[in-house]
């Protein structure tokens, strides 16, 4: 994509010149107070669900109780506070399954984001700084993986490696690293020309030192913004794979597979599919909102990417 190259002078920032830890802390606090509250609250809620699932969940998510099957949520006649969001066709509590599902979905997302952001950062740094053939090759590979339909490749992985958590993590990481690598590389190419990098090289810094001590501190902003913007996409992709049955095998609930469980009951029990899907949408909406906010605050130049 043709993106406008920022021409404005960016003041260099390196760890040595950051003006003391205390000043930094105050700055972080001032920024943190402006974070949009509602989206953050939604994210925190789901993270609490995921981390403390055994404590928060009202029931065992896999416990079958046919007597209780297809109970509607509390606000519909026939429902009760015993099962706030109703029960599924096997009498399992929808809320409990949703809470436990967040555990699988969020941990897979976290793993994918950690792996792909680090791999993408390293490849982008190396490709941009070293340049030449290696750069050409790596960027071809990146272009190829970006242009390719994500879910289809993930299905291919699921067939050859067998469905499961590891497969999903591998497949989504393979598809996601290139987004980081491309942006990081672009930033490195731009900064390479700036005085502070040229200067660092002139006084004899090794390439590794230039990358770690001088380039990286100036990439953090872009990198963090990219991470927040990718999280939503990964949550959606993980859910899509779970829905298609290429994710965690049953009876372990994940958000995508929960929506799929209710597919055949839309005419009688819409709530089985509705709430897990709503959870996915809410989380992605919040993460994307926060990502857009962060991008605008950190670098208005990035707004159109």
């Amino acid at each position: 994509m043709a993106t406008p190259v920022a021409t404005a002078y960016v003041p260099p920032r390196s760890f040595a010149a950051s003006g003391g830890a205390r000043y930094r802390l105050i700055k972080v606090w001032r920024e943190a107070r402006r974070i949009p509250l509602l989206p953050s609250a939604v994210i925190v809620m789901f993270v609490i669900f995921a981390v403390f699932a055994p404590l928060v969940s009202p029931y065992d998510p896999t416990q079958i109780a046919l007597v209780q099957k297809l109970k509607p949520p509390f606000f519909i006649e026939g429902g009760g506070i015993a099962h706030l969001l109703g029960t599924d066709n096997l009498g399992r509590d929808v809320l409990a399954r949703l809470i436990w599902g967040s555990r699988v979905s969020l941990s897979v997302t976290a793993a994918v984001v950690v792996i792909s952001s680090i791999v993408g950062l390293l490849i982008g740094l190396a490709a941009g700084y070293v340049g030449g053939r290696a750069d050409d090759f790596l960027m071809r590979v990146a272009d190829g993986s970006i242009a390719f339909p994500a879910v289809l490749i993930a299905l291919l992985f699921a067939v050859s490696l067998g469905p499961g958590v590891t497969t999903v993590i591998i497949a989504l990481s393979v598809l996601s690293w290139a987004n980081y690598a491309r942006i990081v590389r672009g930033e490195v190419l731009r900064m390479r020309q700036l005085e502070f990098i040229v200067g660092a090289r002139v006084i004899g810094c090794s390439p590794l030192r230039v990358m770690v001590a001088h380039l990286f501190p100036n990439l953090v902003d872009v990198w963090v913004v990219m991470i927040t913007l990718q999280v939503g996409l990964i949550v959606l992709s993980e859910a899509a794979l779970g829905f298609l049955g290429a994710g965690v095998p049953p009876p372990t609930p994940s958000w995508g597979s929960l929506v799929s469980d209710g597919r055949n009951f839309v005419d009688t029990a819409w709530w089985i599919s509705f709430f897990p899907g709503l959870a996915i949408g809410l989380l992605v909406l919040s993460v994307n909102y926060l990502g857009d906010w962060l991008r605008d605050r950190m670098d208005p130049q990035l707004r159109h990417r």
């Binding site: 043709a2 190829g144 390719f148 067939v159 050859s160 939503g232 599919s273 949408g281 159109h304």
Partner: protein, 304 residues
């Protein structure tokens, strides 16, 4: 121009080769096909004969070459599940995907761009804000869930549209609508941002200064120049649409390529999914190449 095009064509071929290698190597990871095909009573000699018949006694590069030359000739092997010819199965399903995919691409492009223009012109009014809400929703809601909820609302509650399958014209409405909804945000956001950028340029000021009506300024001067980023992002939209198609076709039991890929996954039918992936790779990369060629037509400033 010739040199650039040649380079682009070579690049595209290399990318397709890389994908074919990944697909080929992934096939090795599925496990030894001989153990799948041979019966329990097969002796060591039977297995050796079977290996020879399948060409599995050859070195891996030779096997890859055989696989590649066969694929180029349109021989993608046999489906494991129903023993049908993979190329033929794909050929039957491809038109079904196209009849919902192409209208959705067209609709999302036209509606998305129009929404982007309106949002940019009415910047920061309620019109702009509500359009941005639509875009954000389209980017955040899971496609499969929206499809299921659409079935619930239109087929179960209102009883106006069929739930799934393919047949009457009514069957086309929901799949096309959902696909359009998901391809729309990218078009709209991009149009809005590039138009906003253009509206601040000197030549737009100049067009206004010489007394052109606002609609002439927007449609004849600004929008035309906002078209080339749209073209660039088309490749990305296409990849996105294929992903959407897999999910939407699965929910609506629409007999297209996406549903075929899903069924192949369920049956762990490697030749079938491998054929689908290869075909989609060729299609998306070909489309990207075409877009690059069209670039020079749309934007006369670009001369290769």
């Amino acid at each position: 121009m010739g040199r650039f095009l040649l380079n682009r064509v070579i690049q595209s071929i290399v990318t397709i080769l890389v994908i074919s290698m990944v697909v080929f190597l992934m096939a090795r990871a599925t496990g030894d096909p001989v153990t799948l095909l041979a019966s329990d009573k097969a002796t060591a000699q039977d297995i050796a004969v079977l290996k020879q018949q399948l060409g599995l006694d050859q070195p891996v590069p030779v096997q890859y070459w055989v696989f590649l030359t066969n694929a180029v000739r349109g021989n993608l092997g046999k489906s494991l599940a129903d023993k049908g010819d993979v190329a033929q199965l794909i050929g039957e399903r491809l038109p079904n995907s196209a009849v919902i995919g192409l209208p959705a691409l067209l609709l999302s492009t036209v509606i998305g761009m129009a929404m982007g223009v309106v949002a940019a012109v009415k910047r920061d009014t309620w019109v702009d804000k509500s359009m941005r809400v639509i875009a954000v929703l389209g980017q955040s809601m899971p496609a499969f869930w929206v499809s299921i909820m659409a079935i619930f609302f239109f087929s179960v509650v209102l009883r106006v549209l069929p739930t799934s399958g393919m047949g009457t014209p009514d069957h086309y409405i929901l799949p096309i609508a959902v696909l359009t909804f998901f391809a729309l945000p990218m078009r709209m956001r991009l149009m809005r941002s590039s138009l906003l950028e253009i509206m601040g340029t000197e030549y737009v000021k100049q067009a206004r200064a010489k007394g052109l009506s606002e609609s002439a300024v927007v449609w004849r001067h600004a929008v035309r120049n906002a078209l080339s980023p749209q073209l660039t992002s088309f490749g990305l939209t296409l990849a996105f649409a294929v992903t959407g198609a897999v999910l939407v076709e699965t929910v609506f039991s629409w007999p297209g390529l996406g549903l075929l890929a899903y069924q192949a996954m369920l049956a762990r039918d490697y030749p079938l999914i491998q054929g689908t992936v290869l075909l989609v790779a060729v299609l998306t990369i070909g489309a990207n190449l075409l877009v690059d060629m069209l670039y020079a037509v749309v934007d006369p400033r670009i001369r290769y």
